[in-house]
């Protein structure tokens, strides 16, 4: 017997979303207080109280703040007292994992209403040192500098030429900032204009290779809380129509970055390509660019953001560059990407990957506010990224009308 006969046991909807206003060091709150802000907002958004919550799922990257088991201290702000409580951590993908875990927990029938909470107070630690700590202490830790790499820029430049590549990634950057300017929760809002592209391309300080400081994601303090409920409970509770979780997939890669040989005789498949391919195949999606109305992508830098559009949408050649160059990824464009401003604008790491589906939910519900894309928004995609190029990919739907097929 194989997986063909197994379906999702029951439907799961998102009934509440909350975020803090993400920022640099929140000196005015301690960690549980900051988490509470997001929890409070999510509960208000759903119109419920902690009494309605069965289970809390919590996560972050603890080596940033150097708190062991932070969910214990955070009981003061998460409302987990007396509740079932899980803690999951998977590096940068944590937030997305929390979302998937909440979905699994509700779909299983074990819990009816689950709240996922991701947070980070990056300014309370040293982010790059924290990420460097991920590598093998016997070897790579001494050679690596956190998440900073010039390899992606190198890839894109090799393929499309320096001028075009640099311009496209800066165009992506400006678009992300324009979106961030419309998102009151976003951390960094620079007010960049398209006519600054030439200047920024040459003058923003370099970090590694052609990765410049302006391309790189933010380091933020912030929290996000998302409430998921079973179909029955979503009908009874929740002020707004639930947004349905259709499916999710997690694809990791081995412990080291064995991807830098630059030899196409030995191709390597990136996890986002594998995740997209498998998730779409088992859901019958053959043209993702047509199918999805919005994509909240975990874009750690504008080089990766630009590059990954190709495989997330199963495009060929320079189609993804043209989407960016023609500004089709903007709010109002053909394929809006990161109407929230994305990770480059806001990155409280433990929350970042949870903010992606949270923002996609807001878009589908139509109440994202100033950064709302014109509707109707029916099919949403959200991704998480972390570790050694891992991907989590989540599909969200406005209506419960997709064919609940057995999973092939």
């Amino acid at each position: 017997m194989d997986m063909k006969s197994r379906k999702k046991r029951r439907n799961v909807g998102v009934i509440g979303v909350g975020q803090t206003k993400h920022s640099s060091h929140r000196e005015d709150v301690n960690q549980p207080e900051m988490v509470f802000e997001a929890v409070r907002e999510a509960l208000d958004d759903a119109g419920i109280s902690m009494d309605d919550i069965d289970c809390v799922v919590h996560g972050n990257m603890e080596l940033f703040e150097m708190i062991h088991q932070p969910d214990l201290w955070h009981e003061l702000g998460t409302g987990s007292l007396g509740k079932t409580a899980f803690r999951l951590t998977t590096g940068g993908t944590t937030g997305a994992t929390l979302f998937c875990a909440a979905d699994n927990l509700v779909a299983s029938g074990m819990y009816d209403v689950v709240m996922a909470i991701g947070f980070e107070k990056l300014q309370e630690g040293n982010t790059t040192a924290g990420i460097t700590n991920m590598a093998d202490p016997l070897w790579t830790r001494n050679l690596q500098t956190g998440a900073l790499t010039g390899t992606c820029a190198y890839d894109v430049i090799q393929e499309f030429g320096e001028e075009r590549a640099k311009r496209a990634s800066m165009m992506y950057r400006v678009i992300m900032d324009k979106h961030a300017m419309l998102n009151p929760k976003a951390h960094r809002q620079f007010g960049l204009e398209f006519d600054q592209i030439d200047y920024l391309m040459e003058h923003s300080a370099k970090l590694v290779g052609e990765l410049r400081i302006i391309h790189m994601c933010s380091q933020s303090d912030g929290a996000c809380a998302v409430i998921l409920a079973s179909e029955d409970k979503a009908a009874k509770l929740g002020k707004k129509p639930p947004v349905w979780v259709r499916d999710h997939i997690t694809i990791h890669r081995e412990e080291t970055f064995n991807i830098l040989g630059y030899d196409n005789r030995y191709p390597v498949e990136m996890t986002h390509k594998v995740a997209a391919r498998e998730l779409y195949r088992r859901n019958g999606i053959t043209n993702p660019l047509e199918y999805f109305d919005v994509f909240e992508m975990y874009d750690p830098s504008s080089w990766w953001g630009l590059d990954w559009i190709r495989d997330f949408f199963m495009l060929e050649g320079d189609e993804h560059l043209r989407l960016v160059e023609n500004k089709e990824i903007m709010i109002g464009g053909r394929m809006p990407i990161n109407p929230s401003g994305g990770v480059i604008a806001t990155n409280p790491i433990g929350a970042t990957a949870l903010i992606r589906p949270a923002e996609a939910v807001l878009q589908i519900r139509g109440d994202a506010g100033p950064h709302q894309i014109p509707g109707p928004v029916r099919h949403g995609l959200a991704s998480g990224f972390g570790g050694t190029m891992w991907t989590v990919l989540i599909m969200l739907e406005k209506d419960l009308d997709w064919e609940q097929e057995s999973r092939p």
């Binding site: 017997m1 194989d2 997986m3 197994r6 379906k7 046991r9 301690n30 809390v56 990257m61 080596l63 940033f64 150097m66 708190i67 062991h68 088991q69 932070p70 969910d71 214990l72 201290w73 955070h74 009981e75 003061l76 007292l81 007396g82 509740k83 079932t84 409580a85 899980f86 803690r87 999951l88 951590t89 998977t90 590096g91 994992t97 998937c100 875990a101 979905d103 699994n104 927990l105 779909a107 299983s108 074990m110 819990y111 924290g130 990420i131 700590n133 991920m134 202490p137 999710h248 997939i249 997690t250 694809i251 990791h252 890669r253 081995e254 412990e255 498949e269 996890t271 570790g387 050694t388």
Partner: protein
């Protein structure tokens, strides 16, 4: 669609004081090979393992994203992996959800911890406390447990002699457990003279530094017999979080423990645990935990722990025949070790410790100082 999840295979290495000669990857690889050999399971994306649940800790591993280091040896290359960052017993509950939700057919669980790696596990657990008040005051899991031990002794009259009995018994039982940490046998006098770590907890009352790795294969009901002819079913799961500030908790009678047990019993349809369950594996990091947890899960009347010890209650009710955490399992995996013993007992593979005809077992785990978070799992043949 099936309603039960089974444990089809368990693999472990021996609990040891200091596995200096292997990295955790090597420790886990042995477990992986054993599970594959025992079940024939593959990593085929359609028919085999495509999602893995792990358990490890960043602070104890001194490694950000500690599960990243495990990726290869748990077979997570181009598969999914999700790390439970609490006592690994919770991973059984989570893996259960992954399977019952329909997302996965089979889930591999792998956990490791090397307490010997850092200079002091107390420095590590001190970091669980807020940096402003509890941490500078010196709270860590040891001192929190000591406060609890004092509260419990004041409430119930538990004495140094009871504690000695608990320790002596733990080592005696562990001697029959080939995977338990090798500790020397001690006498009651030696325990009662052992130096204080944190009054009233003496050195011999506290679980010793231990390194360990473990793996399990879990399966949906429909496919369990593909992997084993004697699946052990997880029929009950419950966990619960208590208050952070230690002064606000009932340390001697934790609310979170009672609630976790109640949730597990409800799921498993158990009304009288003492009657309905044949053996109990309780996560006793500290000697006083044994009677305290026994009361909390409802097999000993509240406040009667010491009498239970005097009357040989643990032996009569088949409690901690493995030697318990007290004999030595690392933090993060104490609860898993309890589940492993329960599994072996229900399959009749517990050797000299075997409870004849055991049909149902309870495994308990806890996370945090004085067990702020508690987990209870019911397993059945």
């Amino acid at each position: 669609m099936g309603t039960r999840v089974a444990i089809c295979a368990v693999a472990q290495i021996k609990n040891e004081p200091d596995i200096w000669y292997m990295r955790f990857q090597g420790m886990l690889l042995e477990c992986l090979e054993s599970i594959i050999a025992a079940t024939g399971v593959t990593f085929d994306k359609e028919k085999g393992i495509r999602d893995i649940v792990t358990c490890s800790d960043d602070v104890f591993d001194a490694r950000t994203i500690s599960d990243n280091g495990m990726t290869d040896v748990v077979g997570a290359h181009y598969r999914g992996e999700e790390k439970i960052a609490q006592d690994g017993l919770n991973a059984l509950g989570y893996a259960m959800a992954c399977i019952l939700s329909g997302h996965d057919d089979v889930v591999l669980f792998m956990g490791h911890c090397k307490e010997s790696q850092s200079e002091s596990r107390h420095m590590c657990t001190n970091l669980a406390y807020d940096p402003f008040y509890c941490r500078p005051v010196g709270l860590d899991f040891l001192t929190a447990n000591a406060l609890q031990a004092r509260a419990y002794a004041a409430k119930t009259g538990l004495t140094d002699r009871h504690l000695a009995e608990i320790v002596v018994r733990s080592r005696r039982n562990a001697a029959k457990n080939p995977y338990a940490r090798d500790n020397k046998m001690v006498t009651h006098e030696e325990v009662m003279e052992s130096p204080y770590l944190a009054d009233p907890i003496r050195e011999l009352h506290y679980y010793p530094v231990t390194d360990w790795a473990v793996g399990m294969l879990l399966s949906c009901e429909e496919r369990a017999y593909e992997f084993t002819d004697r699946p052990v079913w997880i029929t009950g799961f419950g966990n619960c979080m208590d208050r952070y500030f230690i002064g606000e908790r009932d340390l001697a009678s934790p609310m979170s423990l009672k609630k976790a047990a109640a949730r597990a019993y409800a799921m498993a349809g158990i009304e009288d645990p003492a009657r309905d369950i044949d053996l109990f594996e309780l996560n006793d990091a500290c000697a006083h935990h044994l009677p305290l947890i026994a009361e909390g899960i409802g097999i000993v009347p509240e406040g009667k722990g010491p009498a239970w010890i005097e009357e040989g209650g643990p032996d009569k009710q088949n409690v901690n025949l493995s030697g318990g955490m007290l004999n030595g399992n690392p933090i993060m995996l104490g609860g898993v070790a309890r589940a492993v013993e329960a599994y072996l007992q229900l399959r009749g593979e517990a050797g000299q410790r075997q409870v004849e005809g055991a049909r149902r077992a309870l495994a308990h785990g806890s996370t945090g100082g004085a067990g702020q978070h508690q987990t209870v799992v019911i397993l059945e043949k």
